[in-house]
């Protein structure tokens, strides 16, 4: 046993010497593995980031929320034309629902429109302006970096006030002096009363509150769209996640009554839930994951083939050296061990360099996605590079080990 350890130690030292002696070749050999490990670790880091980002984005909307809507988010059982033929939800229905509902913490109607918003020279095109009422803020987890949400009075009076998402505020007011200034939409002046804190989740795109603005729904109906041109969505916040099912049952009951549906008629509205959204996200992250690992796995495999190739060349080129080593007493397993550990060390070095690059890349990714390199992907990188090294060194090392010393010595 002690002898065996000694041989491993000496084999590693010999390999290290050989690697140092052939620096350029060793570096070229590692390139494949550097790129492979870099890709794998960056990939898993990015996927993790996307995942976290989705979760954060969703929870910024409020995880105990229900959305009573004409449209169904995920239900694929109902054909889209049937969804289209449903009646729009109206403010009248919202008022009836609000009156009847006992369980929700807060309810608010919303309707969106896309408009261009301007302040002096700056403008943001085609952003989502959400019309709602003062209760809306209670249905979300949104915080303010400056100012406040519009109040009961302002929303009931359909006043010209607006709350900006952080991105919009940044674009319109680079100096951060949004509150109390007036912006213009379609020639109408609106006073900024609040700016939301950054949510920082780009994956939600336009639906990220960062890229939205909020105004009283009455003002929206008056100047930008008409109530009967579209449907409203009723945001419903349950007191907690345990009560969400009860809130949903109640909502379905009230809405059926409000709409006068008979017992044998199906619902002509949907009650949407974040849970469905999370499920969808998991599905798409899963697909990205599989595709990502397939592609990066491929690049690692190509790297491994490259290493095997170079190891074969190296063995051929060092035939004479192998002959010398055999002549002075190296056994088959010594030569085998030397070349396998050479390839393993080279790959391990490559793995570490790849990891280093991946860490730098992660710093860049971190600008867009909330993520850091996970311990498991570090271990993964090391194990993968070690295995790749052993795997791709095996055949070349065997070729070297079984060389005939007489032929090898004669090789020029």
């Amino acid at each position: 046993m002690k002898n065996y350890l000694f041989e491993i130690k000496e084999g590693l030292l010999i390999s290290l010497k050989a690697i140092r002696a052939n620096k350029v070749r060793s570096v070229l050999t590692t390139l494949g593995i550097i790129i492979g490990v870099w890709a794998v670790v960056t990939m898993s880091t990015a996927i993790k980031g996307i995942d976290i980002s989705f979760q954060e984005g969703v929870s910024s909307l409020g995880s105990d929320n229900l959305y009573i809507d004409k449209w169904s988010w995920f239900n694929n059982d109902i054909p889209w034309w049937e969804l289209r033929n449903r009646k729009n939800l109206t403010m009248e229905e919202f008022r009836k629902y609000k009156e009847a509902a006992k369980l929700p913490l807060a309810v608010a109607p919303t309707m969106g429109t896309r408009q261009t918003i301007k302040y002096e020279e700056n403008s943001v095109d085609f952003l989502i302006i959400l019309g709602t009422n003062a209760d809306y803020i209670k249905t979300t987890n949104l915080d303010f970096s400056d100012g406040r949400f519009f109040n009961e009075l302002e929303s009931a009076g359909s006043r010209n006030v607006i709350v900006l998402g952080s991105e919009i505020a940044k674009k319109l007011f680079p100096r951060g002096d949004a509150v109390d200034n007036y912006i213009k939409i379609k020639g109408r002046k609106l006073k900024v009363v609040g700016v939301l804190k950054e949510q920082g989740s780009w994956v939600m795109g336009d639906f990220n509150p960062d890229n939205q603005a909020f105004i009283p729904i009455g003002f929206l109906f008056k100047y930008f769209t008409r109530e009967n041109w579209g449907t409203i969505t009723i945001n419903v916040r349950a007191p907690n996640s345990q009560s969400i099912e009860a809130v949903k049952e109640e909502a379905i009951g009230i809405m059926r009554r409000v709409r006068g549906l008979k017992y044998d008629e199906i619902n002509d509205f949907s009650v949407n839930q974040q849970e469905g959204l999370l499920g969808e996200i998991d599905k798409s992250v899963g697909v990205i994951q599989v595709a990502g690992f397939f592609i990066t796995g491929l690049s690692l495999f190509v790297g491994a083939i490259g290493i095997m190739n170079i190891m074969f060349v190296s063995v051929k080129e060092r035939t004479k050296e192998i002959g010398i080593r055999k002549a002075i007493g190296a056994k088959k397993r010594t030569i085998l061990g030397q070349f396998i550990s050479e390839s393993a060390i080279i790959c391990l070095l490559g793995g570490f360099i790849g990891l280093l690059f991946a860490m730098l890349t992660a710093l860049i990714i971190n600008q867009f996605l909330p993520t850091v390199i996970q311990a498991d992907s570090v271990i993964l990188a090391i194990v993968i590079s070690l295995l790749t090294g052993v795997f791709s060194g095996l055949a070349p090392a065997y070729t070297a080990a079984k060389m005939d010393p007489v032929d090898a010595l004669r090789y020029e």
Partner: protein, 242 residues
């Protein structure tokens, strides 16, 4: 007194080239004792290289018996042969065959590494061997920083370091100029005087005459095996440490 080191009886080496059998060695019997200084001579194609490979345990005979230090090696496995080469045979080659990117010390140390000797002890031994061939001040030089004669002396140090039963030198002066070659032959003569058994393979009459016995090979057979009367005592500069 006359301890036998090499005893080969009716050894043949046959290569299959296409459908033809080539008898590189046809039928060779030979004994070499301890502390002998033997030259093996023959033109190229005579089978002297084949004989050297077999004597050096780099190759095994097709048939016949080979006893090395009293042990039959004719049927040994590759690994057993490697161990014999490592512990009991010191090779000196025409082209030196040093590892080009390792320094002199590591080159000399290598057989001891394969023998499993601990680091400190083998460094000490390697240094001593280099000192013995007059290269104490060149231990950290790489082969390309050394002259031909110095390289060959590193190779001789490598051959000596394991304290082998024989030193097998294959045209050791073939790549050296006359003066340097003479120095190397002086070194061999002194090593022989100190009790080492030396087998010299050469095709040069003059070099062969440094030995005390010449075995001539032709067409895979021993043509003659004679003790030398007019042996050359080399007059090169001695560099063997006393």
């Amino acid at each position: 007194m006359n301890i036998n080191i090499i005893n080969i009886e009716r050894v043949a080496k046959i290569y299959q080239v296409g459908s033809e059998e080539v008898h590189a060695l046809a039928d060779v019997s030979l004994k070499i004792n301890e502390n002998e200084y033997v030259a093996i001579m023959g033109p190229s194609g005579s089978g002297k290289s084949t004989l050297m490979n077999i004597l050096g345990c780099l190759d095994t005979p097709t048939r016949g018996l080979y006893e090395f230090t009293g042990v039959s090696v004719s049927n040994m496995s590759d690994n057993e042969l490697a161990e014999i080469r490592n512990k009991k045979i010191g090779f000196v080659f025409q082209t030196f065959n040093l590892l080009p990117r390792s320094d002199a010390l590591h080159n000399v140390e290598l057989p001891l590494i394969y023998a499993g000797m601990p680091n400190a002890k083998r460094k000490e031994r390697a240094r001593l061997a280099l000192e013995k061939v007059g290269l104490a001040d060149r231990v950290d030089h790489k082969p390309n920083e050394l002259s031909g004669g110095q390289r060959q002396r590193v190779a001789i140090a490598r051959a000596l370091v394991t304290d082998p039963a024989i030193i097998l030198a294959d045209e050791p002066t073939g790549n050296l100029d006359t003066k340097t070659g003479e120095d190397i032959m002086t070194l061999f003569a002194e090593l022989n005087k100190q009790g080492n058994t030396i087998i010299l393979v050469t095709h040069e009459e003059y070099i062969a005459k440094h030995a005390e016995r010449i075995i001539r090979i032709r067409d895979g057979l021993i043509e003659s095996d004679t003790r030398i009367s007019g042996r050359i005592i080399p007059n090169g500069d001695s560099m063997l440490a006393p």
